[in-house]
């Protein structure tokens, strides 16, 4: 459409991610490294799933549209499963790396906790996933035209931006829940993560009924966000403490340089 749509959609899609990066990750180089490594692992999963996609499309019948649609569904499911597998792989790698880091470092405690790693890796996954979802669309939004000449819905850019924001937040929450359940060996919660990821991806097949796909997605974002909050040590009591600003004494007593 124009520069205003470009910037609007960029801010919508990447706003929370940028804010999180600026305030929580940018100052700590170790977190930045793990963020980028997380992004790389997501990229590996994408590479694998796109290889499989490429091969299956080549050998499929290009004329039959039902076959192509089936292939698309298969591709989405495969990609989700591969992403989660890579997340698991990254978890295993981080566990091993942590032991190594502990041996090398002078301090007695780990420089970065597994919970923080979970958050950072989830955000890394989210960044890369959001970039791949959105950059192509943003590039085309700069031009003077908007979608619709062939009858498609006009709200494509806006809904893509919101969807991308939801996906980035979801990846972050899933990262936290995933690592936590791997630590505690709660395999059922792992399955719920995978199922919710599949659910959100399959909801996008509702497009172009954007309401049908965005509203459930945001409900899922809220629910998984709550779950991640509780997994990472939050509780209603702490929330009330913060919101009513009775936390200063608490903070002073527990102040520790980060």
């Amino acid at each position: 459409m124009t520069a205003s749509v470009f910037f609007g959609c960029t801010f919508i899609a990447f706003g929370p991610a940028i804010a999180l990066f600026l305030f929580t990750i940018a100052r700590d180089p170790l977190r930045v490294i793990f963020l980028i490594a997380g992004a790389f692992f997501w990229l590996c999963s994408l590479l694998l799933s796109s290889l499989v996609w490429f091969i299956t499309v080549q050998i499929s019948n290009k004329e039959s549209s039902s076959q192509q649609k089936g292939l698309l569904i298969f591709g989405v499911v495969l990609s989700v499963l591969l992403q989660e597998t890579c997340r698991f792989g990254y978890y295993k790698l981080l566990k091993k790396a942590n032991e190594g880091l502990l041996m090398l470092s002078a301090e007695e405690t780990m420089p970065i906790s597994i919970r923080q790693l979970a958050y950072v890796s989830g955000l890394g996954f989210g960044f890369m996933s959001g970039a791949f979802s959105m950059v192509n669309i943003l590039a085309d939004s700069v031009g003077p035209g908007t979608i619709g000449i062939h009858g498609d819905s006009q709200h494509y850019f806006l809904s893509s931006a919101f969807m991308t924001m939801a996906i980035i937040l979801l990846h972050m929450f899933w990262g936290v829940v995933f690592f936590d359940s791997c630590e505690k060996q709660h395999w059922w919660s792992l399955a719920v993560v995978v199922i919710s990821h599949l659910l959100v991806s399959c909801l996008t097949f509702q497009n172009p009924q954007y309401v049908g796909s965005l509203v459930p997605t945001y409900i899922i974002v809220f629910l998984v966000g709550l779950w991640a909050f509780f997994c990472s040590g939050g509780s209603l009591r702490n929330l009330k403490l913060c919101l009513t600003c009775k936390d200063k004494d608490f903070l002073l007593a527990n102040h520790r340089p980060r």
């Binding site: 205003s4 080549q58 085309d140 003077p144 035209g145 806006l158 903070l251």
Partner: protein, 708 residues
Amino acid sequence: MKSHWMCSNMVRCLGDGNTSLQKLATSIVFFFCLSDVSCNSVEQKIYVELNNTVPCVRLLNATHQIGCQSSISGDTGVIHVLESEEDLEWPLSKGPNPPYMVLLESSLFTRSIMMKMKNESNRVAGVAVVVPNTSPPEFSPHTTCPNENTGVYSDNYGPNLAHCNTTVWNPRGNGLSYEEFDFPVFSLKEDNETEFIKQCYLDHNRAVNGSAPQYPLCAMQLFSHMHAVTNTPTCMRRNDINFSINPEMVCDPLGDYNVWGSIRPYNDTVFGHKENESVVIAAARLDSRAFFWEVSTGAEGSVSGFVTLLAAAQALREVTHEAPPTRNILFAFFQGETFDYIGSSRMVYDMENGKFVIDLDNIHSVLEIGQVALHSGNNLFLHSDPVSRRNNTVNDVVREELFSSFFPNVSQPLPPSSLQRFLRAQPIPGIVLADHESAFNNRYYESFYDNAANLNLTYPSDLSPEEQLEFVTHTAESLTDVATVVARALYKQAGGDESRVNTIKADPKIVTQMLYGFLVSSNNSWFQAVMAPELKNILTCVHVLGYLGLHCFVFFCLLEPSPPEYYYLLANLTGAATNLTQSQCQKPDELPNESRQMYSYLWVQGIVPPNSTERDSFCVRASVRLTKAVSPAFELGEYASKDYSTWTESRWKFIKARIFLVASRDLEMLTLGVGVAVLFTSLLVTYFISTKADVLFSSTREPASAAY
């Protein structure tokens, strides 16, 4: 002064010259689409590219620029299909969503409408003209008095005849081709794309019940940014700025090659005056133009003339071998005559300065073939220059030339013709043969509609293309008669044997094949047979990488065939087939009787014999040459010259058109607003959370020290 040829723009030579980074990015995306994955690229959902468009480009001369220009990132406007001249109020004043892209039917493509839009050009983003398959009753975008300042008539020479004071040659001319528009003007064909555009307009842009149409609106974007500005001296000066190894050229002089051939060969290395040599020149012009770039065929304006002359040349071949006339006959085909006589002024200049095989004193007389196809009955008219005929010797020769009982009107000037440039140099007896007595019969002079239909060139509907090629149409027959008359007149004028004049007859089959090739389809078996194999699909451009720029022929107003086509035709029609092999044909000087200085040797494909698939190629030897047809103003460096043509054509990077929907400004601002709000909110929330993180996520740390 650069002496080699410039290519008019890179697009013609290299294909798509667009090198922007974004295109690189999308081409990377497209790379994945190439592997036949059904790629629904976002760009395809937004834009519909228009492929069959022809732009109007910018031309410059010593003092002005003409043609059309778009801004560098294209001009976008809301489409409005114009219904009548009164409807022009909507885009020009009443419409609420300027700027508008006005879509015109060809009946509305008139001077008054275009001038009104030119005056309100801040509300008009561009114009698209839908060109129908049938021609309007008359349309000529050229001026009423073609080439009035570079002909022979001026304040010093026949002042009462200058500037069309006595005869207006092109009364239907509206002069649109010579106006300057600062918005792009494109032409569209009447096909599915145009239907799609009109449907898009009807769906989105119509005002319902008097209220403004609702967003999103259907819009069009036209790219035709021209690099040259102001006039020729400015753009030639900018060409010479050498900032880098590969200098950016902004314009190129219009120019190409003239083709000439003669009955008796001349040594190509000996220039200047030839003693006791008297030559009759038979001239015709090759080119034509239209308002839009390169779409002109010039059926009546140029094709009729040069086809007649080619047929006459072929008719004279036999008789001049058996009974050579006393004087030589030189057939000259001039290129670039539309733009202030580029070809003929160059030949006259070369003759004056001893750079041509003969000079002006060797010329006995000139017979020029003008527009000859639209004659009713058998009426042809002879035009001569009354001023030079006041000289008795000239007059006598001219009267000799008159080969029928037609006497030209002695008070009427010459029509625009190459002969005028010869007369500018010195008084030479000359006649112009035409089908019009005063004003042109051609209703579509220098227009896109001057095509086969203008000549009534019709074929029976059940013929295959090969059969159409051979079918002798009425037009071909009448042009053959003209060619016969011309050939006989030339032979007599050259002092040939009187008794053999009546044996000279032009061949109607050749005439009809040439008309088919130039007006219907140039990809036919006869044209292929007379051309060389490797030049058949020449892009007329050889890119010399790096410094020297591009060597090629600038083809303006030509058909798809490359310029040497006339060269090959003349060679085949006047020359002789030889027994030389292909390698001998390329190096004939090694043979005792052959000489490259006297003849040209061309290896042509030949026809396919009935029982085989290999072509019967052979070597043609003909006294046919190409000479440069670039205005002397560029040789001399006088870019502001008043005597010679100074026309140049601007260069451009890419030309394209596309349509899409545009959203309202409000929606865009809303999107930006929401984005900024989301960003601020998330920054605030994140700051809040990160400062309170110890509290929020502390339930596993030191639970006992809760002071609560």
